[in-house]
Amino acid sequence: MARDGRKGIGGMADPRRYGIERVAYWLMRLSGLGLLAYFVAHIYETSNILRGRVGWDEILHMTQTTEGHIVLALVIGMCVFHTVNGIRVMLGHGGVGVGRPARPDYPYNPASQNYRHKIGIYSAIILAAVAMMYGLAVMFGE
């Protein structure tokens, strides 16, 4: 809601003009929600083992498809990004790699948004892409 010059949730959500850190912020939340949805679905999927061999084979028949493998590859990517970026965030919260306190001078670059954390974010994205490719090779390579 744009009220009194405030941009509200839309402003918070806007990934433009705020650098890779804002993109990482959104990817972290979206991957978290995606992984939670997958986790709930996985718990339901595995509960079909209680229906015996027929129930298990039925659910495998539904999930072990090309579409299922693509979804699983996305889950792998989300999982790797969430893990690597999560470690970066944890280290940042612990004061690791955020730089030394200094007098704020023009152009007021935040010390915490430095190259170390940018490398961390890009590494998370690259590792997620590599893991997705490996996952696809394992799933489709058989």
Binding site: I9, L50, W56, H93, E142
Partner: protein, 114 residues
């Protein structure tokens, strides 16, 4: 509970879950992805007590981490006493429900009640 304590739990569950999920995924990859999903193979995994305990731990760790993460995201979007309490208790209820449902699968399969 203080938010700082909750965040420590959030990070602790994350680190522990990464280690255990890595073992869970490696079991799938080393056995061969398709073979590891066969009925007998999955049943054998559930009946092997140390593995069943590991699955239960993963279930608890990821449920706590996942639903606390959801709570944090929802609290970022909106604030207010009633809203915050509803979100916190709602996420807690969902977490307990998921742990109970997943534990039922692990325990019944481990006991051979399939």
């Amino acid at each position: 509970m203080r938010e700082s304590t909750i965040m420590k739990i959030h990070y602790g569950t994350a680190i522990a879950a990464v280690a255990l999920v890595a073992v869970h995924v490696l079991m799938r990859v080393t056995q061969g992805f398709a073979e590891s999903l066969e009925y007998e193979s999955v049943l054998a995994n559930y009946r092997f007590v140390p593995y069943a305990i590991m699955l239960e731990l993963i279930l608890i760790l990821l449920s706590v981490h996942g639903f606390n993460g959801l709570r944090v995201i929802l609290l970022e979007l909106r604030q207010g006493r009633l809203y915050e309490k509803s979100v916190s208790y709602g996420c807690m209820a969902a977490m307990v429900g998921l742990i109970a449902y997943g534990s039922r699968t692990i325990i019944l399969t481990n006991m051979g009640l399939t």
